[in-house]
Symmetry: C2
Subunit: 229 residues, 2 copies
Amino acid sequence: MTVDIVILTMSESRLHVLLVRRGEEPFQGMWAIPGGFKRPVETLDEAARRELAEETGVDAASLLTQFGAYGDPGRDPRMSVVTVAYLAVVRDVGEIVAGTDAAEASLVPVGDVLDRKVELAFDHLRIVGDAIERVRVELEVTGVATAFVGEAFTLAELRAVYEAVWGVQLDAANFRRSVVADDGWVIPTGRRAQPGPAGGRPAELYRAGRAWERGGPIHRLPRTWEVKS
Amino acid sequence: MTVDIVILTMSESRLHVLLVRRGEEPFQGMWAIPGGFKRPVETLDEAARRELAEETGVDAASLLTQFGAYGDPGRDPRMSVVTVAYLAVVRDVGEIVAGTDAAEASLVPVGDVLDRKVELAFDHLRIVGDAIERVRVELEVTGVATAFVGEAFTLAELRAVYEAVWGVQLDAANFRRSVVADDGWVIPTGRRAQPGPAGGRPAELYRAGRAWERGGPIHRLPRTWEVKS
DNA sequence: GTGTGTTCTTGTCATAGCGACAAGAACCTG
DNA sequence: CAGGTTCTTGTCGCTATGACAAGAACACAC
């Protein structure tokens, strides 16, 4: 019994996953998602949190959600091992420190992983793929989007999350209208963000409201207000 | 490592779950969901299918979907056991036969389980509860609804699924319009169903179309067209 | 300062979706 | 045939939303 953890975060408007370079056999030197063996005295959630901290120094405690179990014979060359996979979405990974069993830890664009530019150990490619798919769905149904951004955020930042995860372009005006629709999804803070290097009108800063508990305001299914060109 | 299976089906317009009465310790004589130990040479999916067939005689092969793993210490009094839970929605359970390890097998209304009128062994109440919640979500996003009904079905039957699972009343006219919306969710067969004992106009029979793959037509979140009185 | 470019914000318009409701159609039983 | 039940069709009005245009607030170059 092992647990493995997929940590997702936004960086440079792209989705990234936290990987560690394996320090031990099997697959020594190859990239993998953090994880390790569960102890009999702890719950699965506790095991996930502990392994993540041990190998990367990241504490994603309350955000870890379980999303799958993998137990194909042969997925681990050593023995028959079933792993339970966890997912956490964070706005800032914080200090990444390679710990036990890990020679190195860093953020990698998920695009590079899915394109196989970065090869993963075990069946971790499949696990990461399932995690992404899960986030795509959760984005529509839950408030996961706010977990990607900070305490205070601009609507452009929030929109970038949807665009990166779904791989679409959204109309800024319509996005604003849907989110601000006075149902309490976002609450203006009164402050404004610093404009980017190219200038532009400074964006208002918002914080997350409580309406996300009932599902998000942005949908992708029958909606097609992606930008044309 | 064990696998446990939650089988859900509709009976008398109510949601039912397939339970077995345990033939062995621990919890001998108590109701539980079917399940058992995974073998090293098989996948989790195969283990679920095998255990279900062994204990109940039910073959739900292609419909089994994994939805959670449970590994709290103490959930099994004998030892530390992690179980992977599977869910299947079927229109007809078929022949139920109590098999190995099971003294009895039958369908129980989920209401009785959630109300604790029927007590379950281990943490199976929690597992069943999670399964129900999963179905409630899937009903909105996937074509699970069609798995509850037969090959050919009336729109009233399909509507009853949503009403039973969500615990709401839906307007028959609006339900029809949403489902028939010529997007291929249901396809008329040209045949008609037998009216019930109280008479009434005979309903048209439909079969499931391919549009369900892109998500269902019925939503519950911002929608509130439940019947008033 | 002034002009140009960029980004965020506000507003308009037309259409599609949908909740509420009423009426008609097709069966039953007695 | 009368009355009851269930399924089916249709209408009305409101809201949500996709498309698009215009205004506002900044940076930078000159």
